[in-house]
């Protein structure tokens, strides 16, 4: 039996304000427990919440970027439940008049994501020395898929406090620093059909939020959280199956894995003629499984009602249009611009743009006259590999290897001072030492050998030393040439101009 997964995501994102949603407490992360609390966020009788104007503005920015309907009439409601992380025993949220109504978001992804191989300069590549800087991305030729995902709503609400359970017997400890922090809950329609699509949705949503500068989207600090609603149904069926809500994923990869697991679990249930139960499940990263969260006997009954402590709000069309006018360039626009201005592929443009800092780095290098296509390749292969292997982040990349260095390096390759292979060593040394690529090349005498005489004598030596490969090549084995070129490169400590080395060997062997 074929099943189709139906996935909807709920993303909670912390808005970048200085103070909380309804009081003047700081939103700073990592403060002493309960330092950022006051009578309002602790829910003392007689205290009154007042809306943070900036939080509403940030919420509207997101709404506009997600193409949401904005009615301009909004109010807040109380969502009632008892839990120690909620000092008032209700959360101020929005029920029937959210800031942002229905909208949509476009996702773009490549099915079975392209593998980016770190290219070991196998000899075979030497046969094609004109390949771009040797740093080739091996991509499948599958087309990018574009899909519109509906947004149900994006509403404002206050965060709850933080509970600590571990290592404490018979008690839980509560820190209310986070209670009252402004959150925007962004709810998607159940339009996602695979873990891959869910991942693509999160990546493009995060990119939008970062471009808007409304949140730092730090999953570790909890400023971006994601729950997934997952159900499956027989292929072709229009009715939804029973869903499970999955929580506790702390990375986009974890969301993808948890959904994957859940689809399999539900499929197995249906295949063995059992039923899926509507429940909340927790993802366990170590075990790679979801587990039932001990469920209450009764279903949640939040008894929403209008928050009497806050007045309603109306936002004028002019205000909304003013915010729209000030929206920055958004990822989708930047991708278009990268494709148009720099002749990048859809895929390359997307990879760069989805990380704002990476895209900025790229544009700085290009402004320094780097060849855009080469810059894109080198960033995505060598530079990201260095960032990852050093456990650095894209944010600190310019500190270790400024974009001007990249432009300089690509210049050295283009004017044939160094080969693409040597360039990789140069990048690594430069990244490590902070010296510019030009300096590294000079200090280590890494200039390419283009001296034909020298290369010819080296080629003679190689041909004499490898009669079998020579015979193989003459018998029509192309790979043998690769091997011989490789040997010649080795003989010259990798400094031979690969194109020239190739030509000389072919000439001598024919």
């Amino acid at each position: 039996m074929n099943y189709e997964p139906v996935i909807g995501l709920e993303v909670h994102v912390q808005l970048l304000t200085q103070s909380k949603l309804f009081c003047g407490c700081s939103t700073k992360f990592g403060e002493e427990p309960n330092k950022n609390t006051c009578p309002v966020c602790l829910g003392w009788p007689g205290s009154l919440p007042v809306l943070n104007e900036e939080a509403l503005k940030l919420a509207l920015k997101v709404g506009l970027a997600l193409n949401c309907e904005i009615s301009g009439r909004l109010k807040f409601d109380r969502k009632n439940y008892f839990y120690p992380d909620l000092p008032k025993a209700y959360q101020i949220s929005q029920y029937d008049n959210p800031v942002n109504g229905k909208g949509w978001l476009e996702i773009e992804y490549k099915p079975n994501k392209a593998v980016i191989l770190s290219p070991d300069a196998e000899a075979s590549k030497m046969e094609n020395p004109e390949a771009q800087g040797d740093s080739q991305k091996v991509q499948d030729d599958k087309k990018m898929i574009t899909k519109k995902i509906g947004i149900t709503r994006a509403h404002l609400e206050e965060d709850a406090g933080k509970l600590l359970h571990e290592g404490i017997a018979a008690a839980s400890l509560v820190d209310y620093n986070r209670a009252g922090t402004p959150l925007l809950e962004i709810v998607s329609e159940p339009d996602l059909r695979s873990p891959e699509e869910a991942y693509a949705y999160l990546t493009s949503l995060k990119a939008i939020l970062q471009y808007l500068e409304v949140s730092d989207c730090n999953m570790e600090e909890g400023s971006l959280r994601c729950d997934a609603n997952v159900s499956i149904r027989k292929a072709g069926e229009s009715k939804f199956g029973t869903k499970a809500e999955i929580k506790n994923m702390n990375s986009f990869k974890a969301v993808q894995k948890a959904i994957q697991y859940e689809i399999k679990r539900q499929t197995d249930l249906l295949e063995s003629h059992e039923r899926v139960i509507q429940e909340t499940r927790l993802w366990n990263e170590t075990k790679g499984q979801t587990f039932t969260m001990r469920s209450k006997e009764e279903a949640h009954d939040y008894r929403y009602f209008p928050e009497p402590d806050l007045v309603p709000f109306s936002i004028s069309k002019e205000t909304v249009e003013g915010i729209r006018k000030d929206l920055p360039e958004l990822p989708v626009q930047r991708v278009d611009r990268f494709i148009k201005n720099y002749s990048l592929s859809d895929y390359d443009a997307l990879v760069l743009v989805q990380d704002k800092q990476l895209a900025n780095y790229f544009e700085t290098a290009v402004a320094e006259k780097a060849n855009p296509k080469l810059a894109s390749n080198w960033i995505q292969s060598e530079l990201l590999a260095l960032v990852n292997s050093n456990k650095h982040t894209v944010e600190t990349l310019p500190k270790f290897f400024p974009a001007t260095y990249l432009a300089e390096l690509l210049g050295l390759i283009e004017n044939q001072t160094i080969s693409g292979k040597i360039a990789k060593d140069v990048v690594a040394i430069s990244y490590e030492s902070g010296k510019s690529p030009g300096t590294v090349v000079k200090e280590k005498s890494l200039e390419q050998v283009t001296d034909t005489k020298l290369l010819e004598s080296a080629a003679d030596k190689i041909i004499a030393a490898h009669p079998k490969s020579v015979a193989d090549f003459k018998a029509g084995k192309r790979q043998a040439l690769g091997f011989l070129v490789g040997q010649l490169m080795k003989e010259t400590q990798g400094k031979a101009n690969p194109k020239l080395a190739n030509e000389i060997l072919v000439r001598k062997l024919s």
Binding site: G24, T37, E53, E54, A55, N80, S172, L173, R294
Partner: protein, 93 residues
């Protein structure tokens, strides 16, 4: 008017004795019956009221204004550990 007094009490974390439940059920029914009179009014052209005051758009600027009540509050908490509030163990939501 049909409602389950036990369910409402449960949601409010109230533990009612049977005689209390019966009395409260009567009281609630009386109140709801009284309010029901409103349903006889024609509200076709009246928009729903979400607030009794006729004001809107009350904002505060995004400014930090530390309150420093923590120590006072913790003094009155039923349980504390360091700067944390201490509550009976809760595991799930």
């Amino acid at each position: 008017m049909s409602f389950e007094i036990e369910k409402i009490a449960g949601l409010a974390r109230l533990h009612l004795k049977p005689e209390e439940a019966a009395k409260l059920k009567n009281d609630l029914e009386a109140i709801l019956g009284y309010v029901k009179k409103l349903e006889t009014l024609d509200t076709q052209n009246v928009s729903p009221t979400s607030h009794v005051l006729e004001i809107e758009n009350v904002f505060r600027p995004d400014q930090v204004n530390p309150s420093q009540v923590r120590d006072e509050v913790l003094k009155h908490a039923p349980g504390r550990e360091g700067n944390f509030f201490k509550v009976p163990k809760v595991v799930d939501k």
